[in-house]
């Protein structure tokens, strides 16, 4: 068959709806669902795996919140099964608390959100949106999933090794990380995850540059594709230094080198027998050189999804599409020169701190532009409050809170008081949890019909939204008060020993309650998700009456995606065009349709 992706099976896949995008040529079960090279199957594999990791990472956190709410009290239900070296008599040990913290962070960032946002949505939606038959390198695509999978398993296994999982924070600062147990498997796992991301990002960039459909010029690209494009560059250029740093830290742990180990270390009373002359700050630089761009990797795809959902549910074009595109690109570029705002307290001189404070303030501007554009898109709209739209709308103020609280952190003097307190925790959770996670939920509800040919239940969706929205705010809002009050993060006992925390401890109980309730409110989602695959309302190609290319393919799209060669005639968001027959004019419909 020819390269346009037309194929006989598509028709059949179109009528006979099934939840996995059925192929006509019958590869066996394994080639079809497990070792598939079809970007849609791989995308779904990524999404499911990532969601499970999200659930797991969240569970770790719910356990932690118990210890913070009721320090030293036996953990109910599961406490007894955690084992002597984690929670004797169900009472959590400090080392286990630190493991939970480090692994929660790692899992949520590297195994949850990024794989879902990039591996999941990127893989499934992006090729459809640009009218490609598949990714440019399908085999590479499959490989990147399985490498990710191995990395994930490595991380999970690390809980069961002697001494437990990594326990030096997701930031893994040496010397602690070099001498603390559990770190080796963490590093190995990270090397896998990074490799997977690199394979993925190469594939994404090539696909977007090379496989755009006829007529799909750069300024006609859906905003989501732009977000994925910039994200891929961030991954491509920011991840390798962390891979290098990981190798160096492995050398320090296994070969006894001292890249990050200065001379004259005395650990628990004994001088360390190492060559020394290393530099602990070197790790922090290499780590944050990745980890700051990484946080934009967490947010950009989310912004992309929100853009798509808002355009569709406001029934009007996105306001300032060009401004959005430029801001996203500029944001991506700037994110490479702000990283040391995580390191103000390491004794930075005036010059460099001035530099990083300035870049940090500058980078906040494009975010403001993006948020403003998305907000103004609502003006003159005809808003439909569908479940995806609810989550997308909630993203705006939530990201607003998260982003704005980044400003005092970005100014070194105010960071003196706020650094390493719950203020930081509050800041970034507002961006990643009610921000990114909500955007991802929006994406799931929005593209679920395309992936399965069925809609998710709106009622359960609404319950999921309102429950999560209220709880998540009760979880994170008090953290700002705690932070301003000077409550440190990463505290096994919540910092109950400190006089200045006395007033702040009570919030830990609310937060705990809210966090567990938040957990309960995920149940409607899980039920909705799996039941809709079987019993959800059937839909055809374009249930949301959307304009972008993915909606011209059957739901679910067959192998090769499109029944006829997709051609793009206009911009991505031609909604409510004056004089048009309907309130949406798809990009893929010829002038006189």
């Amino acid at each position: 068959m020819d390269k346009t992706g037309i194929h006989p099976g598509g028709e059949h896949a179109h009528i006979h709806v099934d939840s996995h995008g059925e192929h006509h040529e019958d590869l066996g079960f394994w080639r079809k669902y497990v070792f598939s090279v079809d970007h849609k199957v791989i995308g779904i594999q990524y999404a499911i795996t990532a969601l499970l990791f999200l659930m797991f990472g969240f569970t770790l956190m719910m356990i932690m919140r118990w210890q913070l709410a009721y320090p030293g009290r036996p953990i109910p239900l599961i406490g007894m099964w955690l084992g002597q070296d984690r929670a004797p008599m169900g009472v959590m040990l400090p080392e286990f608390y630190n493991q939970l913290g480090a692994m929660h962070g790692t899992i949520m960032v590297f195994l949850g959100v990024v794989p879902l946002a990039v591996g999941g949505f990127g893989n499934f939606v992006m090729p459809l949106q640009i009218g490609a038959p598949d990714m440019a390198f399908p085999k590479l695509n499959m490989m990147s999933y399985w490498v990710y999978f191995v990395g994930g398993v490595t991380m999970l296994v690390s809980f069961f090794q002697k001494g437990g999982a990594a326990q030096s924070g997701w930031t893994s600062y040496p010397p602690l990380a070099v001498i603390a147990p559990g770190q080796t498997l963490w590093l190995v796992g990270m090397v896998f995850l990074i490799t997977s991301s690199l394979l993925g990002s190469v594939n994404f960039i090539v696909t977007i540059v090379q496989l755009r459909a006829k007529g799909l010029t750069w300024m006609r690209l859906p905003f989501f594709v732009w977000a994925q494009f910039v994200t891929s560059f961030l991954l491509l250029l920011a991840f390798p230094p962390l891979e290098a740093a990981g190798v160096l830290q492995l050398m320090d742990r296994l070969a006894g080198t001292s890249f990050f180990m200065p001379s004259g270390l005395v650990v628990s009373g004994k001088p360390m027998l190492i060559a020394g002359n290393g530099n602990p700050l070197l790790w922090q630089h290499l780590f944050w050189f990745l980890a700051h761009p990484e946080v934009y990797v967490l947010i950009l795809p989310a912004m992309g999804i929100v853009g798509e959902v808002i355009a569709n549910n406001t029934r009007k074009p996105l306001w300032g599409y060009k401004a959005l595109v430029y801001s996203v690109s500029f944001l991506g570029f700037m994110s490479f020169i702000v990283w040391a705002h995580h390191m103000f307290m390491t004794g930075m001189g005036t010059t460099m701190s001035a530099f990083f404070q300035t870049t940090t303030m500058i980078i906040s501007i494009p975010s403001v532009v993006i948020l403003t554009a998305l907000l103004l898109s609502l003006w003159g709209a005809s808003i439909r409050f569908t479940t995806p739209m609810l989550f997308a709308l909630a993203f705006l103020p939530m990201f607003g809170i998260g982003g704005l609280t980044g400003l005092p952190l970005g100014l070194a003097p105010s960071d003196i008081h706020l650094h390493d307190t719950y203020y930081v925790i509050g800041h970034f959770h507002y961006v990643v949890a009610p921000g990114t996670i909500f955007a991802l939920f929006a994406g799931i509800y929005y593209w679920f019909p395309k992936a399965t040919g069925r809609k998710m239940n709106e009622m359960l969706g609404a319950i999921h939204f309102w429950g999560s929205f209220i709880c998540i705010n009760i979880v994170f809002m008090p953290m700002f008060i705690q932070g301003l009050g000077g409550m440190n993060r990463r505290m096994y006992d919540g910092g109950m020993q400190y006089a200045h925390n006395k007033e702040l401890l009570k919030y830990n109980i609310w937060i705990g309650m809210a966090a567990w309730t938040l957990g309960l409110f995920q149940l409607p989602f899980i039920v909705n998700f799996f039941s809709s695959i079987k019993w959800g309302a059937l839909v055809d190609k374009n249930p949301w009456e959307a304009t972008t290319l993915e909606w011209s393919a059957p739901s679910p799209p067959g192998h090769g995606n499109f029944l006829t060669e997709p051609i793009v005639y206009r911009g991505p968001y031609e909604y409510s065009v004056p004089g048009a027959p309907r309130d949406f004019t798809p990009t893929f419909e010829p002038e006189k349709a």
């Binding site: 068959m1 390269k3 992706g5 194929h7 038959p133 598949d134 990714m135 440019a136 390198f137 399908p138 690199l198 990002s201 190469v202 594939n203 960039i205 090539v206 540059v209 090379q210 496989l211 491509l236 250029l237 920011a238 991840f239 390798p240 230094p241 891979e243 290098a244 740093a245 190798v247 160096l248 050398m251 070969a255 006894g256 080198t257 001292s258 890249f259 190492i274 060559a275 002359n277 290393g278 530099n279 070197l282 290499l286 050189f289 192998h559 090769g560």
Partner: protein
């Protein structure tokens, strides 16, 4: 169903997927080695003193010649395909493999010399960075060898089916190989001479 622009170039970008792909991969490699060079700079500037003449310059120079040579044979292996001279291509590719093997053997002797003196990575910052950088570079060489052996052996069949595609793949392999050579061109002075 097959992917467009695997063989012919996309008109508006003038590129095949593989060409862009390999360059992007090399971009990430640049950042990988960049981080290691940055490490080198920071550790060296911070070090109280830095050893000189730790390594055998002559072995290092020999390896530099070997790698440069392998780069020439590699590019010739590709050029011969362009002139559809299959025989020459095989010879040049084989030569490249042999040269790279020679490089590794030579490197092994260098390593062995250190080990016998008990000079392991944990011995000093210099040796730590030396073993890490050259070790990682060595792995890249090894990877290159595997790929070339593939195109000498099982992969060669593709030439019958689709000469252009085979030629493209040899070109991509070449790009990778020249990059590995390029890294060494910097490693040599940085580690052996300075």
């Amino acid at each position: 169903m097959n992917i467009p622009y695997t063989i012919e170039e996309r008109p508006d970008t003038g590129l095949t997927n593989g060409k862009l792909g390999i360059w992007l991969f090399l971009a990430s490699e640049v950042m990988l080695f960049g981080a290691l060079f940055s490490t080198y700079i920071i550790l060296r500037v911070g070090a109280p003193e830095w050893p000189h003449g730790e390594l055998n310059v002559w072995l290092g120079m020999a390896n530099t010649f070997i790698l440069i040579g392998s780069s020439v044979t590699m590019v010739m292996a590709w050029a011969s395909l362009k002139l559809n001279d299959w025989g020459k291509h095989r010879i040049y590719l084989l030569a490249t493999v042999l040269l790279s093997a020679a490089f590794l053997v030579n490197k092994y002797f260098e390593y062995a010399a250190h080990w016998t003196k008990g000079e392991l990575p944990d011995h000093s910052t210099f040796l730590a960075i030396y073993f890490t950088l050259t070790g990682l570079h060595g792995l890249h060489i090894l990877g290159g060898i595997v790929v070339m052996l593939y195109f000498l052996g099982p992969g060669a069949g593709l030439y019958k089916k689709s000469p252009e595609q085979f030629t493209n793949r040899i070109e991509y392999t070449g790009l990778y190989w020249h990059f590995v050579d390029l890294v060494w061109i910097f490693l040599f002075p940085v580690l052996y001479l300075l």
